[in-house]
Amino acid sequence: MIIESSGISLVERVKEYRRYGTLFLFLAIRDIRLRYRQTFLGLLWSVLQPLVPMVIFTLVFSRLLRPETDGVPYYLFALGGLTPWMFFANSINAAGATFVQNANLLNKVYFPRAIMPAAAIAAYVLDWLIATIILSIFLTRAGYSPSLVWLCLPLIIVFAAIVAVGVGVAVASLSAVYRDVKHALPFVVQVWMYATPVVYPIKLVSKRLQWVLAMNPMTGVVEATRACLFGLGVDWPLLSISMASALLILAAATALFHKVEADLAERV
């Protein structure tokens, strides 16, 4: 392996990330084990997290605004959006803090740095899975019969995870340089949620402007989840825009991370 001021070659980097697969797995397991250790409700929290906002939004939206949700009961509609959204919001919150929180470790041991935010995100897949199982129970009770299309959900969570890795790594890298990021993140996440059709249908926006909303990749994630759950048609052009934008974010985050990584240990 050759190390120069620009780091190591791309081939070496890829090999290295593969070699540290064990660390990725163990970090994710650690995060899961620690998250609800010494809590009374334990994993139940991953269920409550989307359920509580679902109740609130159902009370507010379905009573006051009565949005058009393609015949889907509003509480199911909201839960279908909140489940992937909670995964994303929790993921970027956790991933974004990894570099600064582990400053000491970064100064003592070398391992491919991006493993930390990636593992933090992987740890939330379990929460998503539990929330999704609860969601499917709600669906069957409401008269939806379990369908094979639901098997697309894992693909959608991969899509969501790609978005989360892009944003999470970018946030983690930026926080290493600007501590402001930590304070700004909660607002950004809040605004981002309302910029995503999580608790309202995308049809609330006129057809001509929907592509603007789709440039937010989480729009694609949320819409695809609902299409899959309720057996609605997929708006492929919109989904493609979201996917392209997810890849763009990932590429930009990689470039940013690469820049910060050079002296990460000195910065955090």
Binding site: E4, G7, Y20, T22, L105
Partner: protein, 424 residues
């Protein structure tokens, strides 16, 4: 087989705190107004380092604090990136820069072993294969499934070292980790490093401990201000290490009388640290007697003068102050002339470190300071590697201002097996 080739490697740090601390939004706004980076003062922690290492070599890295030893290991382990130069590594690199990094108090011993081993670069299969050995080495079998926050600090460190000692990369970097645990555990750790050295691995070993370096290493490098200043067989490099005086010196003279520190009565003319044979020293072995010699001139007769010498350690603590009570001149008025006084320091009194000498001459009745020169000379004390010393078998850091070799006595009583013994 060549495992490490370092070619012209430099590492530069920006001296300003700005780079090291994170920026805030104000800096972002003023970004354009910032001075060009070249204007910022920098610090060259490593300056054109070149060296090679081969499989099976255990190389000691010596140097004073700030010489660049830790930076070198961090660059080799890729925690820091070199500013310049090229490093070729053939094989996996494992580093033991600090044991227990990444331990989490809420996780159990077993969970921590897994996580820590993975952080150090082991794969799942390797960890499963080594788990028993690690647990055995640490000697904590019964507590393995309890959270490490319930461990004593000794158990915690033993477990952490055990994990680290069982990574088997081709290149192993070790930075002063031997200061862990009790003497017995240290012996085990040393033995483990010796084993690693014979397993065709390359080990780079940073330590201030000459004994450990001499015992473990086949070759040594000496760093001084970021440069490799000596390299080769351990005894030669250790000797070179003891000779660099890092800016301090064991001798100072004041040839021009009028400029020498002093009063119209007495002036300081020279001071040095000397061996029993009369050689001037800048490095003193703790196990040997040495003297601090002060020469002063008395210009007008009749004053009672108290020459005093005091030693200050690197933390600025006064180790002792001494005056000439054992001489016939003590408390007597002195005639004019030149005096050479020597305070003899017995063996096995000081600890290793840097010592600064303050020389002064006082008069009482009336109280007067003729001169008081702080840090007039300084010298380094080192642990001798042979003979009896207060360190004994212990390899790690020993605290304290002094380290005298005290007489110990032991009163031993065997456990009695009568009625007072605890019931089974």
């Amino acid at each position: 087989m060549k495992t490490i080739a370092v070619q012209g490697v430099s590492k530069e740090f920006l001296f300003t705190r700005q780079r090291l601390e994170s920026r805030n939004i104000r800096d972002l706004i003023h970004w354009r107004h910032q001075k060009p980076a070249s204007a910022a003062p920098t610090f060259l922690a490593l300056d054109e380092i070149n060296f090679e290492a081969h499989a099976g070599e255990v190389i000691g890295i010596l140097g004073r604090n700030g010489a660049g030893k830790s930076t070198l290991l961090k660059v080799l382990s890729r925690i820091l990136r070199p500013t310049k130069g090229r490093i070729e590594l053939n094989g996996r690199v494992g580093s033991l820069l600090e044991v227990g990094s990444g331990f989490h108090p809420e996780l159990t011993g077993r969970e921590n072993v897994f996580l820590n081993a993975a952080i150090l670069g082991m794969t799942k299969r390797e960890i499963y294969g080594k788990l028993d050995q690690i647990v055995d080495f640490a000697g904590i079998t019964t507590h393995l499934d309890e959270p490490v926050k319930t461990y004593s600090s000794g158990m915690y460190l033993r477990l952490a070292f055990a994990v680290a000692a069982h990574i088997e990369p081709e290149i192993l970097l070790i930075d002063e980790v031997l200061a862990v645990g009790d003497a017995e555990f240290q012996k085990k750790s040393m033995k483990r490093i010796e084993e690693i050295g014979t397993q065709r691995q390359t080990v780079l070993f940073v330590s201030h401990n000459m004994q450990a370096i001499m015992r473990l290493c086949s070759r040594a490098l000496l760093l001084d201000r970021g440069k490799v200043v000596a390299s080769g067989p351990v005894p030669d490099v250790v000797a070179a290490y003891l000779q660099i005086d890092g800016g301090h010196r064991g001798e100072r003279h004041y040839p021009d009388g009028p400029y020498a520190p002093g009063s119209h009565v007495a002036r300081l003319r020279g001071i040095r640290v000397r061996s029993c044979e009369g050689q001037t020293l800048s490095t003193v072995s703790i196990g040997e007697k040495f003297g601090i010699e002060m020469q002063f001139e008395v210009m007008s007769a009749g004053s009672t003068l108290y020459p005093t010498l005091s030693l200050y350690n690197e933390w600025g603590t006064e180790v002792f102050l001494s005056t000439d009570v054992t001489t016939e001149w003590h408390g007597r008025p002195r005639p004019a002339g030149w005096y050479t006084v020597t305070a003899w320091v017995p063996p096995n009194l000081l600890r290793e470190g840097l010592l600064n000498v303050t020389a002064a001459i006082y008069s009482f009745q009336p109280y007067f300071i003729h001169f008081k020169e702080s840090d007039v000379v300084s010298f380094q004390t080192v642990e001798s590697s042979d003979g009896i010393n207060a360190r004994g078998n212990f390899i790690g850091y020993i605290g304290g201002v002094v380290r005298p070799l005290l007489d110990w006595t032991v009163h031993y009583e065997a456990i009695r097996t009568d009625s007072r013994a605890p019931r089974e």
